[in-house]
Amino acid sequence: MKINSILIANRGEIAIRIIRTAKKMGIRSYAIKTSKEPNAWYLEEADEIIDFSECFDDTPEFLDIERIIYNAKEHKVDAIHPGYGFLAENPDFARRCEEEDIVFIGPSHDAIYRMGNKTIAKELAKKNKVPLLGGSKGTVADPEEAKQIADQVGYPVILKAAAGGGGRGMRVVEKEKDIERMFNLATNEAEKAFNNPAVFIEKFVREPRHIEFQILGDKHGNVVHLGERECSIQRKHQKLLEESPSPALDPALRKKMGDAAIRIAKSVNYFSAGTVEFLLDDQNYFSFMEMNTRIQVEHPVTEMVTGIDLIEQMILIAEGKKLPFSQDDIKLNGWAIEWRINAEDVQSGFSPSLGTIEKISWPESDHIRVDTGVRDGSVITPYYDSMIAKLIIHAETREKALQQSSIAIRKFWIKGTKTTLAFCRAVLQNRNFRKGKFNTSFLSKELKIHYHHEPDEELLAAFFAAYDYAREVHEHEDKPLYVEKGKEIAPWLLNKRLR
């Protein structure tokens, strides 16, 4: 079935990203407007806007399955793309779309359900001879049971939300005395984030790499992988930058892991784009972590090295088309790195930094791709995640990609909010990062200072503070001492005059 119109059940940069491919394919795009960001850029990029400004209950707009379905039918759209987050991995949403004859641009609800349930996913991995970590068979009922299993597999262990993803509901427990508190934290967070408090427990591999494989499958049983993404640079299980390929993999290991990823995907008759995540230890042993049944934030690095538009493939697969390439056709060309630029204060423990993006600009070149949902005047709200933009650099080699990154980051200017750009600079300065020697403990152990500044920068900042102060004092110096009514004079200025 040819798709002529798509409703995007998402916002921000991913909505704009999907619209871009829809335009290229001659597909009409529909975006959802919310009262939380009525002037957001993605709304202008869409062909049509569906207004969700009026709220009828507390259900967040992008999680309101029935409202989205109702409006999709009302506007007679052919298909829905869920993007990432929100309803992207909600099997009920995919099922409701199927029931209402709306094409869900993603996998089947059955595949989402089985991969979303970590217990079932692990059983499938085991059945298909994909290596796994020790831990609980299913979900853990209470802190007592957690304690028992932890004793069996040995500390440290990790508690993970059964319905989880994106680092939420995840806690590492180092010692027995912490397990009860951590169990409660993890279940609380899981309940909040996924409406499901269930957690399971597994052996925690200290300092592994996080490697994931991009999968594409069609509705005719063909599955290929598009190489790996290196996602080890994380903070509290949130990825901060990703590369493709990974400095840790050689062709033989890539083939082994890629084949395992394909076996996992085939075990649920997977179609659409998906990602199989693995842990890789320092002996190059890998174990299956989970499968994400959606497009990922970091998909652009794969697009850059393979030259394949993943959103386009998702749409074509949803239409029932066969994959236009086989595994042998997939070639990884050069090196790509994605730097996530978040509105966070790196100097205060990555705390969220709200406010208005007064100005944003970046250098343009053939090496550089920027995916963003903000522009001058955009507001960073507390309602959504803190990502402002993704800076993607593509070059022939890793060395060149890092070199280009340094230049681009220095010229990526954002005014009005604190960002993680200074963190990116710190990573680029690190010798072991440059050598490709790092793992998930990079932030906590290797990178001592999470932001980088050149020696003279504090001096320049100090100068500007003094200059600005002197200028204000100077401007006020020749004015009369008395204060006009309604015009307050700064107390420090008054003190100075009284002195």
């Binding site: 200017w413 500044h453 920068e457």
Partner: protein
């Protein structure tokens, strides 16, 4: 004539960093810095997009004023912020004097590092806490964050309760050091 002399005297300013490093500028309005014994010019510029930047030794440094409140400044240079108080030689002297007097105070406040909602209080008034011990769970941006004490002491008072929403820098509780 006398007035001019007086004016000259008052042009010296000191930018005091949060780590107590003092940067002295004799004539800040002249836009130059004494650097390794030499006078180096500073250019302040604005580009067509409306960004301000400093040109220093032929390199561009993007500039943004994050906070400006009386003599307190937070200036961002190339994405890293630096906080200062700008002092005259006299006010700096007074400040140092006051700081010496204030050191006897032993009650410290724990503030919210980010806006969010209080999910749980892990301590009660009168409880002993160790440095690094988690005391409050704050939910922000969909993550639960443990706030820990940066001092060892006794909880003197708690300013928030479960389910309260707090802003960044709101005081959560006070701890008496010791």
């Amino acid at each position: 004539m006398a007035r001019e002399v007086k004016k000259k005297k008052s042009t010296k300013l000191i930018a005091l960093s949060s780590a107590n490093k003092a940067y002295e500028f004799n004539k800040p309005l002249e836009k130059s810095i004494k650097y390794q014994g030499k006078k180096v010019d500073i250019k302040l510029r604005e580009d067509p997009n409306g960004f301000s930047y400093i040109v220093w030794k032929n390199k561009k440094y993007m500039l943004d004023v994050i906070e400006k409140n009386q003599n307190r400044y937070t200036i961002m240079i190339n994405g890293v912020w630096h906080s200062f108080t700008v002092e005259t030689p006299i006010s700096l002297k007074r400040r140092r004097f006051l700081e010496q007097q204030g050191e006897s105070s032993s009650v410290v406040s724990i503030e919210a590092p980010m806006p969010g909602k209080i999910i749980d209080l892990l301590v009660e008034e009168g409880a002993e806490v160790k440095q690094g011990e988690p005391i409050i769970i704050l939910e922000a941006m969909k993550m639960q964050n443990e706030i820990s004490s940066h001092v060892t002491g006794v909880v003197q008072s708690i300013s928030v309760k479960k389910n309260d929403s707090v802003m960044k820098d709101d005081v959560l509780l006070y701890i008496r050091k010791g």
